[in-house]
């Protein structure tokens, strides 16, 4: 693929930095993808292709790994990613009501991004803080003991 846009060139640069950080080792593929995902919010096609050529690994392999793991995004996400815990203990603690309220307040369904590009809402597996469930993460911040009433204040913290 020809790298034609400036954006693509930036993506390639980020991919290069990640590959260099892990000494271009094939087995470090997952940390490399994690770094790119962290820096760009997702793993763009241009980045994947560049990593594939630097590590001498087929693009199909790259894609199969990137699409296997839940925390890697192969498409652009919103500015903020909300991960809502959908596991049994949170569900039993009232998670269903909170999740429904959250979807209503954001006007998006799980697995999608809002039209204004601000929010992506996904479900996540257990975050390991079940005793303070229901729980969600917004970017790197974790919120527990959630009730529908708390949601507007939490969401208002993010630009």
């Amino acid at each position: 693929m020809a790298i034609n846009t400036k954006q693509d060139r930036d993506f390639v640069k980020t991919a290069d930095e990640a590959v260099d950080m892990y000494h271009a080792k094939k087995e470090e593929l997952i940390p490399i993808l994690m770094k790119v995902n962290q820096d760009l919010g997702y793993i763009p096609k241009a980045a994947m292709e560049h990593i594939s050529s630097r590590l001498h690994v087929p693009q199909s392999h790259l894609y199969s790994v990137a699409s296997f793991y839940r925390m890697f995004f192969t498409e652009q996400t919103g500015r903020h990613v909300i991960k809502f815990c959908e596991s049994a203990p949170c569900h039993v603690a009232g998670g269903r009501e909170v999740f429904e309220a959250l979807q209503e307040q954001l006007s998006i369904s799980p697995g999608s991004t809002s039209d204004d590009g601000k929010w992506t809402l996904i479900t996540t597996s257990c975050l390991g803080v079940c005793a303070v469930g229901p729980v969600m993460m917004v970017d790197e911040d974790i919120y527990g003991n959630l009730t529908p009433e708390q949601l507007p204040d939490i969401l208002a913290k993010y630009e």
Binding site: G128, V129, A131, V132, V135, I142, Y143, G144, N145
Partner: protein, 122 residues
Amino acid sequence: MNTIKSLEDLKKIREQALEKRKATAVSGATQVIVGMGTCGIAAGARETMKAVLDYIEKNNVENVVVTQTGCIGICEQEPILQVVQGESEKTTYGKVSPSVVEKIMQSHVVDGEVYEENKILI
């Protein structure tokens, strides 16, 4: 930091650490310990920690050491705060929101009286 090359080296560090603990206790300094495991943070421990540090600064409280610890296991009581004054027993408080921090700092840390309302036994 010195490399530990033998059991004797390890013992020395252990003794130093225990001495340090004792010195803090004997000096009458107050330790305030905030639980900062993920469950604590999900329940708001960062705000609790901030409230502790703000209180100390605003009120010029002296002779206080603030540290953190991990998950104790009574997660439904988080955020958890513990106070040790000098050589006395540790007191553990549960559900310590920033407003409760004010009360505990005033009552226990400054005035030396346990704040019964949020005290829990562990």
